[in-house]
Amino acid sequence: MKIQNKIRPITSALLTLLVFSTASPSVAVTKSSKPRPKPTRARVTKSPITSARAPVMTSTPAARSTPAPPPTSAPLRGSLTVFAATSLTASFTDIARAFEVAHPGVKVTMNFAGSSTLATQIQNGAPADVFASADTANMNRLSSARSIEGAPAIFTRNKLMIVVPKGNPLRVKSLADLANAEVFVALGAPGVPVGDYARQILTGAGVTVTPRTLESNVAAIVNKAALREIDAGIVYITDVAVDDYRVDGVAIPDRQNVIAAYPIAVTKASRNKAAATAFAAYTQSSAAQAVLATYKFLPLK
């Protein structure tokens, strides 16, 4: 009285194969698909820095502000991979396009993700030429691991803001409202710049918030607010500006806010250091600064 109860071989093989295969992290390696507020290519001018090939990645602020050495004759060429913080998605897509116009021989590929994700990827050998971080902590992590060339330069600054679903259904007005248990709050995870800035702000304001979720980049917070799954989050003012058709922002007063400084550097492993150095310098040019300003980034000083 033997009953055949074995699982069919094809099904079994399939199951065995798939049992581990599906647990892959969803690292955001996407190009920008966000709509941009304004076309910004009109301001692409060839400043002396634009075509500079010389090392502008200098260590002191004084040296940074001096004009770049005269352009050299050899045109830049080849491909360039730029790893940039999620909050730079819209602006850097424009800046990369403008850089390509200024240097027709160079093809720029962007990789946007949370700065901590990018720093980890670069540390583990990801092929980045340039790294633009939303905070100095993640850049310093790469500096101390000797993964970047020279000293990084601050190229822009940002402020933070409370993001809420369109219409602000729970009437969030201030940081103190985030402490309300009925308000579902999303923050960046530890190590993710937008999360670390937010915790700094909340600590400074003396507000204790128990977030419902810790996201790995700022876009994930904005998306969850746009889907109305969270009631509030803390993001950059530039994120609210670029997505203002689907989320609203509540300002954080300057006395409670922090200024996020964005450093940029060329990686040690870069195979196109000339173009990488030029790109890093280009982000500080007046043309790039104008693009950043249209997205509400703060001026350098």
Partner: protein, 273 residues
């Protein structure tokens, strides 16, 4: 294993010698799985191992993973076994479509599953908005949400293997029981299911193992917060960016659990001729 011992074993079992090319390709194929495992073992911070595994955050993640994966397995049994029976035994229109849909999460990227769940039963989802309006039930960012995500991804494994078991089991005993006057429910609970006990166990354990390793649907649908939705795989993902030694140790814990499961199930999952 050297070539001579392989050959020796082959001859002893009276089987033909394997072609060298085949062995080389098989070896390279196996290396793809062996090397990463080896790397985890080599790079593991063995000296701090115990301290890491007993850290409060890690213990929280381990406990949450156990709760969520066992709950997901229990739910999968309650709904998955009936689903498998229906798919295996009943002949109805749209059966092949139902089969495809209930198997989809096996091949679907879990992050897509998480997104779909969010749009279905999220607070603003097509069903979720009524759950929230009428019952104040909010699934995303809760432990229940994590269980839902894990069930979505793991139940198809149970359905798939139980359907196979139902389809290939001998129906003559059931017919005999029926002719002796047993009701349909009695036949199912006293004849069919007891006979399939080994398959039930194997499917359940497989389902549990998959739930334990769930990442994409959980982080998309349920979010990521220690103690409520941050299961071990999510914890590994986050620790990789902030505390790599902990990420390696947690990965090893998952690998060991999964290996034990697979080794113990090997004779059930692969039918020998």
């Amino acid at each position: 294993m050297t070539n001579s011992t392989t050959r020796h074993r082959m001859e002893r079992r009276g089987k033909p010698r394997a072609p060298i090319t085949l062995c080389v390709l098989a070896g390279l194929g196996a290396a793809l799985f062996v090397l990463p495992l080896l790397a985890l073992l080599v790079r593991a911070p063995w000296r701090q191992a115990w301290n890491i595994v007993t850290e409060p955050e890690i213990r929280t993640a381990l406990r949450l993973s156990m709760i969520c994966s066992l709950s997901a397995t229990a739910i999968s049994f309650i709904f998955g076994v009936p689903l498998a029976w229906v798919q295996a035994r009943l002949d109805f229109r749209g059966r092949s479509i139902l089969r495809a849909v209930t198997t989809l999460p096996v091949v679907l990227p879990p992050v897509v599953g998480g997104l779909a769940l969010l749009l279905a039963v999220g607070r603003n989802g097509i069903v979720g908005r009524y759950l929230f309006e009428w019952f104040a039930i909010r699934l995303p960012f809760t432990t229940v949400g994590a269980v839902v995500a894990e069930t979505f991804v793991s139940m198809p494994f149970l359905v798939l293997s139980m359907e196979g078991a139902f389809a290939s089991s001998d129906t003559r005993l059931e017919e005999a029981a029926a002719t002796l006057g047993a009701s349909r429910w009695t036949v199912l609970t006293k004849v069919t299911l007891p006979a399939l006990r080994p398959s039930l166990i194997a499917s359940g354990v497989l389902c549990w193992a998959r739930a334990l390793g769930e990442f994409g649907a959980t982080i998309t649908f349920a979010g990521n917060f220690p103690g409520t939705t941050q299961t071990v795989p999510l914890s590994v993902y986050q620790a990789f960016e902030t505390n790599p030694p902990a990420a390696i140790m947690l990965s090893l814990v998952l690998v060991i659990i999964s290996l034990v499961i697979l080794i113990s199930l090997r004779h059930r999952l692969v039918v020998r001729a």
